[in-house]
Point group: C2
Chain length 213, copies 2
């Protein structure tokens, strides 16, 4: 089984603090996400500054694009993003237009969506999906449950590269053992840790322990 | 019947061209929208620069927010936005968190949504919705049809202030005669016109002709 990647989400309110955090842990993680909040606060420079510091890393613009897919994808690709997110309730023409302008699209699964829709995304040639654990579930103290894991497995079996996110800790990674998860996304799990480098290394070590090098 | 407002959507790729357009027509329109593309390209400065030029106008940040509602709403409110958009597939807790941080929220109706969901938004105290004519319908040459108008009327009857958008021209406004539309949104209908000021004035004159001063 291919080792899942580790992604840090930079959900900072300003470029200054995002840069201060990413220069510490950027070399440890596989993927750097310019989060929605940071995109909306700092615009394309958030992407281009991080691309400039990490020319070899995969960079994701978490635009959660719902419309004007072609223009948004072109803009973030020019700024240096490899992947871009679209929201699952975007129309198929919006997704198709975005797909033309960037290396890969990721569909963010929020709220209500169906496996029939997921098949339509695959049919468009979109091969990545992001599964969020329900915020309500997290707030009520639940962790990743069988219901979530079943859905993640089904998406993987359909052919998606599935990223998972929501309340992930080093301890919760083993819940996914045996699943070919593409990528684990964490934000404050790394950036708000007392020692962000150690936190990123601990995530990576646990991924390697479970899935191998 | 209250006169519907006129909103210009600034869907520019950079602040320079957006500012050049809005200084021409900002005084004619009622509401200025900082479009998704512009928000993602220029960040909070797109909002704050336009607020600085038009201290008295209603300004909307078209973030189409899907998550982290509280933070996104707080950020755009600090930058000077009065209203912010959330996507209809955002969860209720996301909408509720956003609502706390800004004067008013607008739910953007894209893809699949139901009137049952719409009632839940009203129950949260959200009183604005944005009805988009289907992009597919527009591309296939259709204009606003009975199906769209029936849905708009139902949303108004439920108690929403409804903004409508998608392929609007001065000629299509009369299709909405008799409906208490809150706001008409147009982008390139004004900014790409040979004479943007004349185009904005023509929209406003037609609104006044149909709905009164």
């Amino acid at each position: 089984m291919v080792r899942p990647k580790l992604q840090i989400a930079l959900d900072h309110n300003d470029l200054e603090t995002a840069l201060a955090d990413i220069v510490k842990v950027g070399d440890v993680v596989d993927i750097i996400e310019v989060g929605t909040i940071l995109c909306l606060q700092e615009g394309h420079r958030a992407i281009s500054c991080i691309r400039s510091l990490f020319p070899e890393k995969i960079i994701i613009a978490d635009t959660k694009c719902a419309d004007a897919g072609g223009t948004v994808a072109k803009n973030v690709a020019v700024a240096g993003a490899d992947f871009m997110t679209v929201i699952c309730c975007a129309t198929l023409p919006t997704m198709a237009a975005a797909k033309e302008e960037i290396k890969e699209l990721q569909v963010e699964l929020y709220g209500d969506w169906t496996f029939e829709q997921a098949q339509q995304w695959l049919d468009l040639g979109i091969t990545q999906a992001i599964y969020h654990q329900s915020r309500d579930a997290l707030l009520s103290g639940e962790t990743w449950g069988e219901k979530d894991l079943t859905k993640v497995k089904k998406l993987i079996d359909m052919g998606f590269n599935v990223s998972v996110t929501g309340g992930l800790t080093v301890e919760t990674l083993k819940l996914f053992e045996g699943l070919a998860v593409y990528n684990f996304i964490t934000g404050r799990g790394i950036s708000a840790a007392p020692d962000p480098v150690k936190a990123a290394e601990a995530f990576k070590a646990e991924i390697i322990r479970i899935w191998g090098e």
